[in-house]
Symmetry: C2
Subunit: 127 residues, 2 copies
Amino acid sequence: MNEISNAELVVLNLLWQRGTLTSAQAVEVLQQTDAGKDWHEKTIKTLLSRLVKKQAIGFEKQGRGYCYFPLLEQESYQRQASHSFIDRLFSGRLAPLVAGFAKDKSLTAEDAAELQKLLDEWKDNNA
Amino acid sequence: MNEISNAELVVLNLLWQRGTLTSAQAVEVLQQTDAGKDWHEKTIKTLLSRLVKKQAIGFEKQGRGYCYFPLLEQESYQRQASHSFIDRLFSGRLAPLVAGFAKDKSLTAEDAAELQKLLDEWKDNNA
DNA sequence: AACTTAAAATTACATTTGTAGTCAGTGAGA
DNA sequence: TCTCACTGACTACAAATGTAATTTTAAGTT
């Protein structure tokens, strides 16, 4: 029911990437990232707890502590969040978002190629 | 400096759409929309005030009250917010977001056509 | 000029979020 | 077995947010 906050999402992203982590590992990794570099250990543990309370992640006992893992699927979260974002900012239209990227030159050649591929596939499936 | 909150964004979107509005007009219109339908008049006025404080909108006196108008440009806000969103959820890659839309069937033919046009233009500009 | 009343300004208050600190329990080492 | 360091649980606290209510001010009306 609850939303994932920005700070929580940083931790969740790491768990999606790694699969499972102890809190100590999460601290170790996050403190070397841009987003988490000046987070206190306690802060990271709080975020883990809040993610557990929100049922975004689960854990199982392992040695002295817990081993955390995602419960919420990344793709499903991304999908829900993307739709919600595009609804709020672009009245639900996807193209204007992409247009913005194209316009401000932040659409890389790689992105363009990938998008073209997606479109070609889409056309195949909708021929 | 401050972020625009979700509730504030609903009001700001309306101002972007209409250009200018008195608070009474904002209330009238918003209460007929999905997002604002159960907002109290006072709530909407609070949101207008907060947007003013955040310098997202301005106002000029008109009759007994104010006439509000956007200060923050919609396109620039959309651009900043899109980049930030895609950074947080997709490590900065645009294509996976679009791929999500393609995958869950919410990419309409119109979207597809528009995206193709964008890509063609991009190719022209980057030939 | 005085009054009324709608707007704006100020205040309110619970919840969420960012960012930790403290307390209590337990496994691992002495 | 006893101790202690580490971990999770609980507590803290200010700022932001959602959602209004109360107070003040000043434009219209009489």
